[in-house]
Amino acid sequence: MYNEDQKIVFRFSPELDNAFLEELYGDDLQQAEMVFESSVQQLRNGQQLTDARFHDGDIPGLKKEIHKMKPVLGYMGMNKIMEEFEAFEQACIQFKSSAEAEDGFYHIKSLTLEAIKRGEKEINRLKQHNTQYL
């Protein structure tokens, strides 16, 4: 990926799935910036909602929110985290109470925070790249 005029190459951070992201966004790094911003926002909202569902003991609701957050991670190339969300979503089918879901939930919560952090870092990198030659 490069800026057409200046031939400045942009590489996504190594902790993200570069090959997939390059295929997904092509040279459209403006689009990538927009999607990352929107995705981080959705993760923040998702985090609040999963917190609420967990504390209400609403496991089906928690499962639904996890399901919705899962593809958002994919759009940011965080496939490993996405897989962990998928595993937790599956596990939620068996859980009958928040107590049973507790360990998994806190693990997912820390992964969400990590994903938001990585997403924010990438937004800054993309912004810097996209505005550098304006």
């Binding site: 997939f20 295929e23 997904l24 092509g26 689009q31 999607v35 929107s38 995705s39 959705q42 639904k64 399901h67 919705k68 899962k70 593809p71 958002v72 994919g74 759009y75």
Partner: protein, 229 residues
């Protein structure tokens, strides 16, 4: 042929991606994006589409519940983040199944499947006819029988050498349904069969003695399409 589609998807970022891919392909018009199945059902009660991009798990009714309600069968591409729905997808005879997030390349493969299925439904060849509802029945008109189509407000008139058929439709809608190899819109009120044009004078063309205006917007398209020696 350009497919008229709707997107039923509660995840905004996924819908934005899909809309962008549809635009990029140049093959699919997105008429609407719905965040839930109920609103889409409401729309589909009064509107006909060729293709639905459908999420399965949404707030309220699921994608499959929407399919249960449909009284006709547009093509369906399921867009979901779960692979467990493959069996249901097969049962509902959907055209394809896209696991989110998916790339443009994967999206194009789906669109090719839609084209292939359309071709099969049309008899395996380039669309050479159409059915219109007129005189209380469905009438099969071969492309070659149609001279031109004229707008009459909410109705259109199909002109053939022997008869005129009036049917409830619009030029705008027909523009995307007719075979572009044969038909072309030359004015907001006219679609003509290109093979039937006798002559063109300035901003007017003639077909079997009928004078049809060519609008400024469509003039260059018409001139590009005709074979001037």
């Amino acid at each position: 042929m350009k497919y008229q589609s709707i997107i039923v998807e509660d995840l905004q970022v996924a819908a934005e991606f899909l809309t962008r891919f549809c635009e990029k392909s140049g093959m699919i018009d997105v008429l609407h994006h719905f965040l839930n199945a109920e609103d889409a059902m409401e729309f589909l009660r009064d509107n006909v589409v060729d293709l639905i991009f459908l999420d399965v798990e949404m707030p309220g009714a699921s994608g499959f519940e929407l399919l249960d309600q449909l009284v006709y069968t547009p093509q369906v591409i399921l867009t979901t983040s779960k692979t467990e729905y493959a069996y249901d997808a097969f049962q509902y005879n959907v055209t394809d199944y896209l696991k989110k997030p998916f790339t443009y390349q994967r999206f194009l493969e789906s669109v090719q499947k839609v084209s292939k299925k359309t071709e099969q439904l049309n008899g395996g060849s380039e669309q050479d006819h159409m059915f219109i509802k007129a005189d209380g029945k469905l009438i099969r008109l071969h492309n070659d029988d149609i001279l031109f189509i004229e707008s009459m407000g909410d109705y259109v008139k199909f002109i053939t050498p022997v008869k005129k058929y009036i049917t409830h439709n619009t030029i705008k809608n027909l523009e995307t349904k007719v075979n572009p190899q044969v038909f072309m819109k030359v004015h907001r009120s006219y679609i003509v069969n290109f093979t039937k044009i006798n002559d063109i004078q300035e901003n007017v063309l003639f077909i079997n003695g009928n004078m049809i205006p060519i609008s400024k917007t469509h003039k260059s398209g018409v001139m590009q399409k005709i074979n001037i020696l």
